[in-house]
């Protein structure tokens, strides 16, 4: 061996090192992307300035960022909440659809003043998300069926269901439009520019969950049950009940995300309503290492990356190039997170 340098894995990463690794990863990804862009004849520095000025230099940019952030924050939170009890909710996508579906049903078919309809839609979205995760939850709690598969499969069912109603029975007959329902009249009020109240609510939900988990007896029991179910049983904690509650809450948050997307951003139910937010939520939660508060930041990072992708496309980059850069950033961030667990030591030979 030529080198006396060795890698050593530590059981937990120092927060400062973890942050540093993440920043370094993003920097490295941007550097690599820049080199590729430079070679292919684009001007990476100009593009970078363009992205930053377009995102932060205008109200438009920040609004777009926030509008992307809302569903990412909520689906990321949904996955992170499920992880507290050790459940992988891959079905945030389906619950998002279910929430959007239920909220739209209320919005389209229940008459009444907006002040009444909006809370109803909210409840419907929450319940829709919960119903969508109910079967995987019960299967996991009572039969030990892995929720990965069940929640994933239900995504397809939900997507097809929404596609069916939005092109079939609920399609916009007035305007002959077939791919979306009529516009849902009740709208979440805007709280800043185009950004609706989903943003502060999402942040509050994330903080709320974090507080409840850290500062309540219930949160203690959930953390213990999620970390080691047999220790929780030993401590007399009703693990099964907590699995059910937490998974339902996870589905609820994803359902609420769907409701806000309908009532706050899109206003019509259509096949592509989820925009893959459910799957992106998994990534958000993983980047946040399943911390509820961390989800706020990783969702912001994800929103920034996705938004930058759109800006880069208007700068003439192809979709595939943008996807590659986005993927590179996420990939290197994940590696950086892992590397933060290592330290380099020098040994004498």
């Amino acid at each position: 061996m030529l080198s006396g340098l060795r890698l050593q894995r530590l059981p937990s990463a120092h927060p400062g090192i973890a942050l540093g690794a993440r920043v370094a990863a993003i920097f490295l990804a941007l550097l690599l992307a820049s080199i590729v862009l430079e070679i292919s004849g684009a001007a990476p520095l100009e593009l970078g300035i363009q992205v930053i000025s377009a995102t932060f230099g205008s109200t438009y940019g920040i609004e777009d960022l926030c509008l992307l952030l809302i569903p990412l924050l909520m689906t990321g939170l949904a996955v992170a909440v499920g992880q507290q009890i050790g459940a992988w909710n891959i079905g945030a996508e389906g619950q998002f659809y279910a929430g959007a579906f239920s909220a739209t049903a209320i919005g389209l078919f229940v008459p009444g003043p907006e002040i009444l309809i909006l809370p109803l839609m909210f409840i419907a979205g929450a319940v829709g998300g919960m119903i969508w995760i109910l079967v995987p939850t019960l299967a996991r709690a009572y039969a030990g069926v892995n929720e990965l598969i069940t929640t994933l499969l239900l995504n397809f069912v939900a997507a097809l269901m929404v596609y069916y109603v939005s092109t079939g029975p609920w399609r916009d007959r007035v305007g002959m439009s077939n791919s979306a329902t009529p516009r849902v009249k009740a709208e979440i009020p805007e709280f800043w520019g185009l950004v609706h109240w989903g943003l502060p609510l999402g942040v509050l939900m994330a903080i709320g969950f974090a507080l409840v988990l850290s500062y309540s007896k219930w949160g203690y029991e959930v953390r213990l049950s999620g970390s080691n179910p047999s220790a929780a049983k030993y401590a007399g904690i009703p693990v099964r009940r907590h699995i059910i509650t937490v998974m339902l809450l996870s589905g609820m948050v994803a359902g609420i995300a769907g409701m806000f997307e309908i009532a706050g951003t899109v206003h019509r139910l259509q096949g592509g309503i989820s925009n893959n937010f459910g799957y992106l939520g998994i990534m958000v939660a993983v980047l946040a290492r399943n911390s509820c508060v961390g989800v706020i930041f990783s969702a912001a990072l994800m929103a920034l990356i996705l938004n930058a992708g759109i800006i880069l496309q208007t700068q003439g980059l192809t979709t595939s190039a943008v996807l590659a850069i986005t993927g590179l950033i996420l990939f290197l961030t994940a590696i950086g997170d892992e590397l933060a667990h290592y330290r380099i030591t020098r040994i004498k030979i």
Partner: protein
């Protein structure tokens, strides 16, 4: 992952209630200059930024490729333009809003949405009054938003006439995407053309719930041929069922562009589209300060047409079909009553001529078309 975004491809699909109101215009007023909005000020060519948002990739050999040819024509006609922005694969989602908003931040003076993204575009339209927007297959007009589309039903009727001559069994097949207005219109026009030759002809449709799914289109084509169909038509973005037709020795007609090389013996024709002139004209008006929001249906011969007949199409069939084409160009409409729907009810009374609005928003099948439910 199921990607349902493709559902919105070409955006036949998205209309708003307000859009319907705009459609309640009398037929014949479809040509430019209907709206009363004030024009936007002129822009110097070297300061102008033009944006195009597409539903698919420009390499699709079909719909998006055709619009891209239009963009190239614009660049050629106005070589000094400051910038032409082009984004492919704009999804039918809030990402469309973000994309078009970004166009505006880039300083776009005029934006073409080549597949109506409806509300997602309108969000931007409302907040960018200084920018001219044109939505392909849109239905709504605002102070700075107009729309354009193709009267594809006329060439389709002409191809239908050829099918009536060519089909021996009188059983025609159609590979459809979704039960949307353009598909109703396309199937109806096709069968009506065929029935003008062979009144016993029928049209069987299979909807594959996609605009681009070669495998499903191939399967649908095979099933239709197995059911006795000897002429396939459809509204697909690829050559799947043309290749099946070639293998099985039946006729096929296509959409968008000339793709006869995938089935040289089977190829009859295509509903061929061309936006070059329209785009150059629109951009010219915007630069000159004479643009105003318009509703435009490109007519047969100026934007949409049948393709050059296939190599194996007998000359007399081509001649007969082209005679019908000439008649239509001369002002005759084949879509004149009496027309019955698939349940036998008379929907268009005798001698009543369907308006372009009715054709554009057709949502029922004529007698003889099976497989589509409204």
């Amino acid at each position: 992952m199921i990607d349902l975004r493709t559902l919105s491809r070409r955006g036949f699909l998205n209309m708003s209630a307000a859009g319907a109101a705009a459609l309640a215009l009398p037929a014949g007023l479809f040509r430019a200059g209907t709206a009363s909005a004030a024009t936007l000020p002129a822009v110097a060519e070297e300061d102008a930024v033009i944006g195009f948002g597409h539903v698919g990739p420009i390499t699709d050999e079909g719909w998006t490729w055709s619009h891209h040819q239009g963009l190239l024509a614009v660049k050629e006609a106005f070589p000094k333009l400051k910038k032409v922005i082009e984004v492919e694969n704009v999804p039918y989602s809030a990402d469309a809003t973000r994309t078009y908003r970004q166009f505006v931040s880039e300083g776009a003076n005029m934006i073409f949405d080549t597949s109506s993204t409806g509300d997602f575009l309108h969000e931007v339209v409302k907040r960018a009054p200084e920018v001219a927007f044109m939505e392909c297959d849109g239905h709504q007009v605002m102070d700075n938003l107009g729309w354009y589309y193709l009267a594809h039903w006329y060439p389709t009727y002409v191809i239908g006439v050829a099918a009536g001559h060519l089909s021996k069994t009188g059983k025609l097949g159609y590979v459809a995407s979704f039960p949307v207005a353009s598909v109703f219109c396309s199937t109806n026009a096709f069968l009506m053309g065929a029935r003008s030759v062979n009144p016993a002809a029928t049209l069987q449709t299979i909807a594959i719930n996609s605009w681009f799914d070669p495998q499903a289109a191939t399967q649908a084509g095979t099933a239709l041929i197995d059911n006795g169909c000897d002429f396939l038509f459809g509204i697909m973005d690829e050559a799947g069922y043309l290749q099946v037709a070639e293998q099985r020795g039946v006729w096929a007609a296509m959409w968008n562009t000339d793709i006869r090389r995938y089935g040289p013996n089977s190829y009859v024709s295509s509903v061929i589209i061309d936006f070059k002139k329209f785009y150059v004209d629109q951009v010219g008006k915007r630069l000159a300060g004479t643009w105003s929001p318009s509703e435009t249906l490109l007519q047969m011969g100026s934007g949409v047409d049948r393709d050059v007949w296939g190599a194996k199409v007998p000359a007399d069939v081509a001649k007969a079909a082209d005679a019908v084409r000439d008649k239509i160009v001369g002002g005759w409409s084949p879509f004149t009553g009496e027309i019955k729907d698939s349940t036998g009810t008379v929907r268009i009374a005798k001698d009543q001529k369907m308006t372009d609005t009715e054709l554009y928003t057709w949502d029922w099948s004529v007698e003889g078309v099976s497989g589509l439910t409204s």
